[in-house]
Symmetry: C2
Subunit: 328 residues, 2 copies
């Protein structure tokens, strides 16, 4: 069978992780790569993503030229904001390439209806499929809980709790969640630099799959405060200082919180664990251990490629394509 030809758009930590998984697959071939970082442009993609071999493809800063190549799909990994990536997505669509993007807000774009409608119309016109996905949003706090409701006759409420131990993660991630800040410093950054993007999207995806019309979606954000001193490879946090972030996303229907997503990501989280409670008939409780933010976001994105290439044109979510699974 012919290999699926892939262009990597964006080579930050997530994009590089995605490209590594693509490069490891025998059924995929990287045929182009785009990034604006002068330190990467002109170098072989293989080296830039940390392989010890060339892939025979140089990183280019010229998106238009790279997108003119023959390819089946573009792996788009640049930003969390749908508004800011719309021009990139439109350019890729006009180049008639399917898209799998890790843009968090694209996992459920219909909350930003005008942008979503424009992208959907464009994708249909150019006969390509566009999907936003990743581990969260895209899987652990939306697709998986939705799939689990399949064993229920009725569901009253969906609760998900995701605890992420950030103590062994890379320095930028520890910094990004506010590690070492004072509470005041955290408050000044919360909702701006400090914020996991995706809870609103996951709440909306769950409500849409279950046919629930929500009154509104709410998000909260607060610091996790060290009770005793915590030390990582990069930070030493004294009691009273911040070790990370705690966020909730609520889906409210008839005044009730029918969807409750809880994300706790800090350097003193203890064990990473995901839990899902489906309150319904029968009630279901699931515990999942082992999911890894970086490895699994890349996995989910790459494992979606074949479904996206095979799907009818348009802007889709994980609910619109058949279930994904690992490839060979």
């Amino acid at each position: 069978m012919a290999k699926i030809r892939v262009i990597q758009f964006g080579l930050g930590p997530i994009g590089a992780g995605v490209a590594r998984v693509v490069a490891a697959r025998s059924d995929f071939q990287i045929v182009g790569a785009v990034d604006i970082d002068p330190a990467k442009v002109g170098h072989d993609v293989g080296r830039i993503i940390g392989l010890e071999r060339d892939l025979g493809v140089k990183v280019s800063r010229e998106a238009a030229k790279t997108l003119a190549k023959k390819a089946d799909v573009v792996m788009h990994c640049t930003s969390s904001s749908l508004q800011s990536v719309e021009p990139q997505l439109a350019q890729i669509i006009r180049a008639r390439k399917n898209i799998v993007s890790t843009c968090e807000e694209l996992a459920m774009p219909w909350g930003q209806a005008r942008i979503a409608k424009r992208l959907d119309a464009l994708a249909r016109r150019y006969k390509v499929t566009v999907l936003g996905t990743g581990i969260n949003p895209g899987f652990m706090m939306d697709t998986l809980p939705i799939v689990l409701t399949g064993v229920c006759q009725r569901v009253e409420r969906v609760r998900v709790e995701r605890v992420v131990d950030a103590s062994k993660r890379r320095q930028p991630l520890q910094a990004k969640i506010g590690t070492g800040l004072t509470i005041e410093q955290f408050r000044a950054k919360a909702g701006k630099e400090i914020r996991h993007v995706g809870l609103t999207e996951s709440v909306a995806l769950i409500a849409r799959a279950l046919g629930w019309k929500l009154d509104r979606i709410e998000e909260t954000i607060a610091p996790v405060i060290a009770q005793s001193s915590v030390k990582t490879d990069y930070f030493e946090v004294q009691p009273g200082f911040v070790t990370g972030v705690e966020q909730y996303g609520f889906g409210i229907k008839n005044g009730e919180r029918v969807v409750e997503l809880h994300l706790r990501m800090c350097v003193d989280a203890g064990e990473s664990v995901d839990q899902i409670w489906i309150e319904g008939t029968p009630p279901i409780h699931s515990i999942i251990r082992g999911v890894h933010g970086d490895l699994s976001t890349a996995a989910v994105a790459v494992n979606s490629i074949q479904r996206v290439v095979a799907a009818p044109p348009g802007l889709v979510t994980m609910m619109d394509i058949p279930v994904i699974s690992v490839g060979e």
Copy 2:
């Protein structure tokens, strides 16, 4: 929106359970029901499935007449054997009705290739979709583990363990798993009257989703033996006698057991629990509590209806349709 019109084909315990879920849904309407049991024929479906109200539809023994009604889907719940239900499925397809069936062997029919090809060709010709599903096979030992591989970059092995506490279940189910038999009596019935059908199908579904070419699939069956005396509402089992059944299904590739499904169903099982281990990168372990054999089989079947009605024609598996979720 117009209601989806449903014909119930078969009103045994599973069929009645399915019909109860259909009857409880505001978006579905039962428009016909077929059964051969003289005790049911001529009575209102509502009463036969245990509701305290009439549904205005009488159970008929005449399949042809019932299938001539206008309907979107037939819920088919008669037998585990694909060979024995083929004529029923063919009759329903020729009546141009989509099918959701709880026939266990239909969950992955491609192991019986000649029958599957005939049904697939017929379904395409009459432009209907045919799906076999249920909680097991159909969900807990195939769809859910396959979905969980989506977070992995590589997978070496999939293991699933399903422990079902049968002590509170209905008498026929306790009898069916061999409760109270001697080991010799069990051995005489094992693989015939005593056997959960579906492990081979689940192994094959997993292998197909993951693109694994198996050397072969193996199944084993053995009695669970009482270590101390066990009492249920229907049986009192002395030590040395049978309390249920233990089965394994193995998918073997290059001499290795790359899929291992373990089902233990007995009246001294302790707590019912499902566990899934994905051995890969990253390794995943999931524990699921609360799944109920009868309630959840009906749920999975009914929750598949909208996906099947919307799907392109042909014989499909759970891997060929978008993820199911609970309806309103």
